[in-house]
Amino acid sequence: MTVFLFFTFAALTLTGALGVVLSRNPVHSALWLVLTLVSVAVLFLLQDAQLLAAVQVIVYAGAIVVLFIFVIMLLGVDRRETLTEHLPFQRPIAIALGAIALAEVLFLAGHQWATGAKTVSGVPIKGGGDFGNNIQRVARVLFTDFLWPFQLTAVLLVIAVVGSVALAKRSGERPEGPQTDTRGARETSEGESVP
């Protein structure tokens, strides 16, 4: 059963990933991305990461993909991408580099991993004392060993929120000069014409 689930969702993961790369419509790419993310969540479940599977679906497939689709729709870039390439040989070189990277990472994955460290947190995934269920184990390590990085993620999120607000603010609202004002006026007029 585990074997069947692994191969099924591994195939779905790779199908979704290929769909992301090969779809010419960005909205289709976003929907293929949902397939990949949900399949990876199932693969998390197969490896006793129940909490991460839930978080993967909620945060990734819920929030991040919705954000992607929101921006695609906001900008109106959901038209097909022209496939004319301005740089010569860019695409074959990219695919060749990808093949080399695949060979390299497969080589690394097929061999013994470098670190021999058995444990750093002392909390195993399953068994080994009364550590509770998956959520309790993650919480125990997250709020003790990783408390300082956890606090730093709060700072990081605040920086990201403030930065994105500052970046996405309409430049026309800032008193910068006549050039900025005309650009802002053009944006609003064109923005209204887009349905």
């Binding site: 991460l52 921006v71 990808g98 097929g110 390590v141 990081l156 607000v165």
Partner: protein
């Protein structure tokens, strides 16, 4: 067929190979596509491959810290998407397009 599948055991190497393929597809997506939003999706694929690797190692080494690290990856991914999409919106306002070719002014 049944006994073959029954005898097969999914070791962490299977997950590592899958993650390697996912990472490569994401890399090629970033390199080949010119729509910046789809390039971002390629970055998301790469991050998911790394998450899969983390969880596979957590299972292999029987250590929950690997799963905790995925949390930090998720936070970084969320922050990256928020800031990146804001940058894309800013580029689109200025250039009326969101492909990598619209950023040619950045070349030295």
């Amino acid at each position: 067929m049944g006994p073959i599948i029954g005898a097969l055991e999914i070791t962490p190497s299977y997950y590592l190979v899958l993650a390697a393929m996912l990472f490569t597809i994401g890399t090629v997506g970033v390199l080949v596509r010119r729509n910046v939003i789809v390039m971002f999706m390629g970055v998301e694929l790469m991050l998911n491959a790394v998450n899969l690797t983390f969880v596979a190692f957590a299972k292999a080494l029987n250590d929950i810290a690997g799963q905790v690290l995925v949390f930090f990856t998720l936070v970084v991914a969320a922050a990256e998407v928020a800031v990146g999409l804001a940058i894309i919106v800013a580029i689109f306002r200025r250039r009326r397009g969101a492909t990598a070719d619209d950023l040619k002014v950045l070349e030295g």
